[in-house]
Structures are given as structure tokens and as C-alpha cells.
Symmetry: C2
Subunit: 461 residues, 2 copies
């Protein structure tokens, strides 16, 4: 099909929504390292994980050999309410840049949660319901995950208890109200409703909370209440599995018009969006069927890929979760002055970490003000107000398109536009007022944080 | 095609975006009454209107005989970035209600402005650009229109000055920041930048502003600055013309599956959404080709159709605009304690007023708390957080579907879901906290406000 036939938005039909998720790990020669029990320093077993997580999700977490997993019909029915999401040809951005490059973006923001998080939230809620649970618990920082999960739990009639980092609870009352509208019980963390919360409040009376603390409270409630389990929106392998629907739809839309991308670009915090977007492309690369440049974009303020260590570390600042081998800045690392809430995690998906260590993908770190410049240019030309997280990918997509302008190469660029920025306008206001600053940790900052990395047996180093 | 083949979302292709807007007035036997010059009490001429409005828009405003108007290619290209919008089958809501009715909604909220306002904003910006203007001015209350226009002006490189009602400017800083991100100059009204603003501030030092005052400031700037014109997002015939794209797409999507609706439901403030949604259906009705129930839904707190008078009145509280014959509560009427910002206008589109007076459509007024109950039910089942304005239509669609449950009738209901509620969470919070109240003006309130209706010559009564 000739190029000028490519529409602005490539929509698949509902019956083209993938029937199976793709499990990237099945095609990896070097599997991601197993989670370790910090007590025994042995790989976590299904038995150890099931008191915390839903049974079927534990099975998905541990399965690194089955390439395709059926998407249950109930989940596909929910997907039909907001999927397939469009793959958009950024004609207006290309024109504004004057680039010969062809730019496409997969837009995951057209649902009320405002991001791709809903793809895994509905799956996790479904398995909890199927197991006969009363409800689930979780933590949320910026609030995208909590919002998505509250929608999913409302749909399946599950109870949901969200521990929201206190500073976000107070600064983002609108996110909180969306969750409440969907029936979720939202508690600012640390709270007096849990042992760990009371302990932290006693030790640090004025604390505004942290994601690590909120995780600890959510896990405590899940494990001490009959009929509850804990769920998590990123980092885990099961989440990447569910998010593979992003990449599978992207690939199906490109195939429809015989488009072969040269590079796939995505922002990376814990890795849920990037791991999902690249899954089928990386699969082809692993199987030797095709080659693509795959680029992870992270904030310069929290540069786990580009300046972290590949080592076993705690997933939470409270050091109660299993150890994961990943690119990490150390579980005590606190990114400063960074508004891109969803990319503030100190570590990275174990799957993506292994792929990066194997040289199968690149990573680049970008600074906040340049990210918001890209966000503004994108908003004004393509009409969508992007989330700060997503705008990291926009920045690098624009940079690559401008390189094409210099060289005259007609490269095809695909990036993930994970969500919208309607709840991030405090950050936009800072940018509009010229008051946004950049922050890059010093080598000394990183060395200090890395001191907290746990000791593990030699075989896991 | 059998019913179970109808997808959750009916999307048209890009090449099915209508090529012409439909001008409902051409098929009306009783034309809407002309605008009157309040000085001469004679119909406004094109010459009188062109110092304020763009030339081509004046022509559209006055043309009540041409049934179809070409949509310029530049506007159609912009439409392709967010249109066609989906017509959604509300399978999940139907199931939750247990109704045999079939419910469809046309969802206009999937763009950054969050509402249908963008359909006319891009058209008005285009004609301003085509006329060689430097920029346009407007007022905004809740902020949907200002946001839409800022996106449109960014796209065509036009300067935009928005006068935002001061209380909204302060209470809705996020709306303001979206407009600024798109490059608009946003001034709280009343301001010291205009004569009328300074005069009002001198007389009422503590005022938080009003839409009428903001209109006056925007018109003053447009008429006293070379290369500027004033634009308006509702009420006017030209706006209904542009918004006919909503109805034309809805009809095309229904026709594709041989669906014949029994009733079309839309919320009504100034009438821009409702006039656009019903246009082709009302056209068939006017030409005797089909019959539909057409229902306007307005807030009980601002009941222009159900409790107003059909008479000439000022469109603005400042009494500087032309007189329009419409259902009105009087230009001095101030709706109290109503969060549905976009439905607070004291009057109604002249076209819709005439159709209502001719018995061609119905109107119903609903109370705020019942509207938010419907909004919450809709959000939890259909996954979209609706704007309070749109939720008025949801309320009546649900009520009609519940009547079908009683009678067993399988009626087909179509309603307009004009936008999303991401910037209305203060209202949702009130509802979630059980602090929302209803307000219905007394007969005395209405009689008092109606005293301000201007005297017009007998021939226009």
C-alpha cells in the first residue's frame, strides 16, 4: 500500500484484539534472574508467593517458558471498552520538524485511568475475582496505577484498598477523587491503620510518606485480612506479560500497512510500558527474524539503566520485598525534584535488565526541561497533552527525527505514548512559568546509595 | 446484520468523516428569529456583525437556506487527529440496568480539550486565519471552550487572548495551565487591561467576575485591536452548523448497522452539542422522512426550556450583545450552587428554541445529585468518567432505559456524551463526601429575573 494511503490513526477492529499475551521470557536464551527470598537467599517458590499474590498471577510470574498465554474472554470483553488503542501517524509533528522520518505513536491514554496501566489492572482484578477473593490492596504514588485498579475492581465488584503516598494524597486530590468515584478506599500512607504505618509514624512523626512505606502497608493488610491479596502495577514479569498487548497491537497495525520500523522508543520507570511495547519486536530479534533499535528513555534524575549497577536489590525502600536482579541505583536512592512521578523507581524490570545487559537494547537519559519542551511541541502539533512520563519518549523520538533531517534518512520511528497529562498540570505550570529546573545526581550521590545493595551468595552475583 | 454483531465501539474510517456540515435551518419551515440590533431594533446586518466576527462566520450565521456547507480540507485534516469519534454500545450499562433497551452514546471526550467544543473551535480558527487575522479573543467560564480554542489557535499559529471568569481562573488553575501550554494568553476577568474591566472593578472592587463581563472584555479587545475578531463557542447558528458533524457521524455509524433509534438525548446549555447531535435526525423529521423523540436535558437549577419564556433577550449579562429570540430566564438570572458549569447559560440557541416552540422536541430538567448518581453508575460500568454536563444526558438515558425495563420494550436510545470530567473533580468530591445539594429556583426568583427582558417592537414579540 502506498505511503499516502496511511491514515492518521490506524485502528484495528475489535476482533483483531490479540487473543493471547506474549511472554517474552520464553524466547530469551539468558532468562531473567529469579527473585530471591531475602531470608533464605534462595529463589522464591510459588508457595512463598501465594500468601501475597493471587495464585494464577504467581504462576505467570514464575513461568519463563510458555510463549503465549490465553487472554480470558472476560478480560477481552473489558479490553473492548477502550481497545484496540490507535497507532497514530504523527503527520503534523513530522511537518513541524521538517523531517523525512516517519513517526508513529501507540496512544494508550484514551481511557479514564489515562494510561496503559489499565491493561494489567483488569487482568489482575480478574484473577483475584476468579480465585474468589473479597478484594485486593495496592499502593499508588502519582496515582495512575491506583486509578486503573479502581476501575478494574469496580468492574468485577472487588473491594480495593489503596495506600496513597501522603504527599500525593494531599497534592493530588483529584486523582484521589477519581479512585473514590470508582468505589476504592483510599488511605494516606503512612497511616494508623497498620502496624508498620504506626511504627513509621512513631519514628518519623512529620513524614509525608514514600512508595516503599505504602507498599509495606498494602502488603500487611493483604496478608493479615482473610480473602485479600496484594497487587502491583509495574516491574513484575506478570505485568510485562499483560502489557504485551500494547506491542502486539502495534505490530498488527504496522503489518497491516507493511510498515517496518527502524526503532522502537519507550519511557522506562519500572518497565511495564516499555516491556509491553517492545515484546513482539524483541521476540523477533531474539529469534533472529528481524532487527530493530530498541531505546529505553529514563530521566537523568533517576538513571537506573545508564548509571546504575546490575545487581540483586530490594524492590522497595522498606526492604521487605523479595530481592530482584536488576539495574538499580540502590533501594535507598531518592530522586530529587523530578515531576515525572511514574519514572522515579530506583530499579528496573528484571526482564528488561537482562536484555539490556545482553546488549539487545539501548538506554538514554534525558533532562526534565528538555522533556517538557518536547511535551509542549507535541501538544501544540498533535493535539494531545502528554503525561510527563510519556514525554521522555517523545523527546528522544523528536531527537531521532531531527537526526534524520540532518542525514536525509527516511527512518521509521515508533514510540509509546503511555498516557495523558491532565493530572500533571502543577508540573506544566512550573514549566510555563520558567521555574522548572533539572537535577542530575552526582557520582557521590550514586555511590552513597549503592552502599545499601544487599550481599548475596556468589552464584547470584 | 444481526444484533450480536454490533461491536462495543462503532468507528467510521477517516474517509467517512463527513465532507459537508448540515445546516438544519435550511429545512425549517419556521426559521429561527433574526438577531436584533438593540440600538435600532432592526435585524443585525452582515455589515454590523463583521467588525466583531470573522467574515465567513458572519455569512454562516445569517444563511438559513443553504442545507450543506463544504468542510474545508484544512479543517478535515485537523478532524482526522481526533475524529471520527466512536459511537459506543453501552453493553455494560445495559447489563447493570437489566434493561431490554439498547443504549448507544456518541463520545466526544477523546481529545485534549475533553469535549465537543473542538469541532467548532478549529473551524472558527481556520476562518480567522483565512481572513488574514493576527488573532482572536474569547471568554471562558468552566474552561472547555477556552481549551479547545487554544488548541485550534496553536495549530493555525493564531494569537489567542482568553478572558477567564476570575473565580474559575483561581479555582481551576489546571484548565488555565492547559491553555497556557497551548500558547494562549489567559487573563482573569474583570481585568485592568480593558475600559469595561476597569469600570467594573471601580464599581465592584471585590467581584469574582461573570461570563457577561468576560464577554464584554473580549469583545472590546477584538474591536479595538487591528487584526483581531471575537469568537464564541455556543448559542450561535454557526456553532450548531460546525457541531452537526457529531450528528452526521452518529447517523452514519447507525446506518452502517441498520440501527434506527427511537430517541436522541442530549444535554442543553447554550445548545451547541444538542443542536449538532440532533441535526440530521431533526432534518429527517422536518422533511417528514422519519420520526424520533428528541429530548433536551437541562439542569433544574437553570431551566430555560422548561420554565423560561420564549422572547427576545440579551445574550450576555452585560447587555452589550445583540438581542436573540430564545427560551430565556432573563439575562440577569444567576444560577446558584450548580457545578455543571457549561449548562449555566440563561438562554438557549435560537434554532433549538424555535424547534422546541414548534413542538418538534421535548425538554426535561434534572437535579444535580441525581445527575451525579447517574455519572457514578456510568463511570463504574462503562469506564469513562463523564463531565457533569454530559451526565445530564446520562441521567435521562438511564431513566428511559429503566422505563423499558418496566414495560419490556426494546427501545433504542442514543445519547451524546459530550466530554470527560477530569477537571470537575471538586464537584465529584462534594458528591463522594455526601455534601452535594440541589437548588431549584422559586417561581418568584424566575419572575424577578424575567423583569429584565427588553421591550421589542410588536412584530418581534
Amino acid at each position: 500500500m502506498s505511503e499516502n494511503k496511511i491514515p492518521y490513526k490506524i485502528y484495528l477492529n475489535e476482533n483483531e484484539i490479540p487473543e493471547k499475551w506474549y511472554n517474552l521470557r520464553a524466547d530469551m536464551k539468558n532468562k531473567p534472574a529469579p527473585l530471591l527470598n531475602p531470608g533464605t537467599m534462595k529463589p522464591m517458590t510459588a508457595e512463598e508467593l501465594t500468601p501475597v499474590f493471587c495464585e494464577e498471577l504467581v504462576a505467570q510470574e514464575l513461568d519463563d517458558t510458555t510463549p503465549y498465554v490465553d487472554i480470558p474472554q472476560e478480560i477481552r470483553d473489558f479490553y473492548k471498552m477502550y481497545r484496540p488503542s490507535p497507532l497514530v501517524r504523527a503527520y503534523c509533528l513530522e511537518k513541524a520538524l521538517g523531517t523525512p522520518a516517519k513517526i508513529y505513536y501507540k496512544f494508550e491514554g484514551n481511557n479514564t485511568s489515562g494510561s496503559h496501566k489499565l491493561n494489567s489492572a483488569i487482568a489482575q482484578a480478574y484473577y483475584a475475582k476468579k480465585q474468589g477473593l473479597k478484594g485486593v490492596t495496592t499502593e499508588t504514588g502519582a496515582g495512575q496505577w491506583g486509578t486503573a485498579l479502581s476501575m478494574a475492581c469496580a468492574y468485577f465488584g472487588l473491594d480495593l484498598k489503596v495506600f496513597m503516598v501522603k504527599v500525593s494524597y494531599e497534592q493530588k486530590p483529584f486523582r484521589r477523587e477519581v479512585m473514590r468515584t470508582y468505589g476504592a478506599d483510599v488511605t494516606p500512607s503512612p497511616s494508623t491503620t497498620t502496624n508498620v504505618g504506626r511504627k513509621i509514624l512513631a519514628e518519623h512523626p512529620g513524614t509525608t510518606g514514600s512508595l516503599g512505606c505504602a507498599i509495606s502497608e498494602a502488603v500487611e493488610v493483604a496478608t493479615t485480612n482473610e480473602g485479600y491479596r496484594y497487587v502491583l502495577g509495574s516491574v513484575l514479569n506478570q505485568v510485562l506479560l499483560h502489557q504485551s498487548i500494547i506491542g502486539l497491537e502495534t505490530k498488527a497495525a504496522l503489518d497491516k500497512y507493511n510498515i517496518k520500523p527502524d526503532m522502537i522508543i519507550g519511557c522506562a520507570g519500572g518497565g511495564s510500558n516499555l516491556g509491553g511495547l517492545i515484546a513482539p519486536f524483541m521476540g523477533e530479534k531474539l529469534r533472529g527474524e528481524a532487527d530493530y533499535r530498541i531505546i529505553a528513555v529514563e530521566p537523568a534524575s533517576c538513571p537506573s539503566f545508564t548509571r546504575g549497577k546490575y545487581a540483586y536489590d530490594f524492590c522497595d525502600t522498606g526492604m521487605i520485598c523479595p530481592l530482584a536482579k536488576m539495574y538499580t541505583l540502590g533501594s535507598g536512592f531518592i530522586p530529587s525534584a523530578n515531576h515525572a512521578g511514574g519514572l522515579r523507581f530506583h530499579g528496573m524490570s528484571t526482564t528488561l535488565s537482562q536484555l539490556y545487559d545482553d546488549g539487545l537494547m539501548e538506554a538514554v537519559a534525558v533532562e526534565q526541561t528538555s522533556v517538557f519542551e518536547a511535551a509542549e511541541q507535541f501538544a501544540r502539533t498533535e493535539g494531545i497533552l502528554p503525561a510527563p512520563e510519556s514525554s521522555h519518549a517523545i523527546r528522544v523520538a523528536i531527537d531521532e527525527a531531527l537526526k534524520c533531517k540532518e542525514t536525509g534518512e527516511e527512518k521509521t520511528i515508533v514510540f509509546g505514548l503511555t498516557g495523558t497529562g491532565y493530572f500533571d498540570l502543577v508540573a506544566y505550570q512550573k514549566f510555563n512559568d520558567g521555574e522548572m529546573t533539572d537535577y542530575i545526581p552526582t557520582d557521590e550521590d550514586l555511590a552513597e546509595a549503592a552502599k545499601l545493595l544487599p550481599e548475596v551468595p556468589d552464584e547470584y552475583k
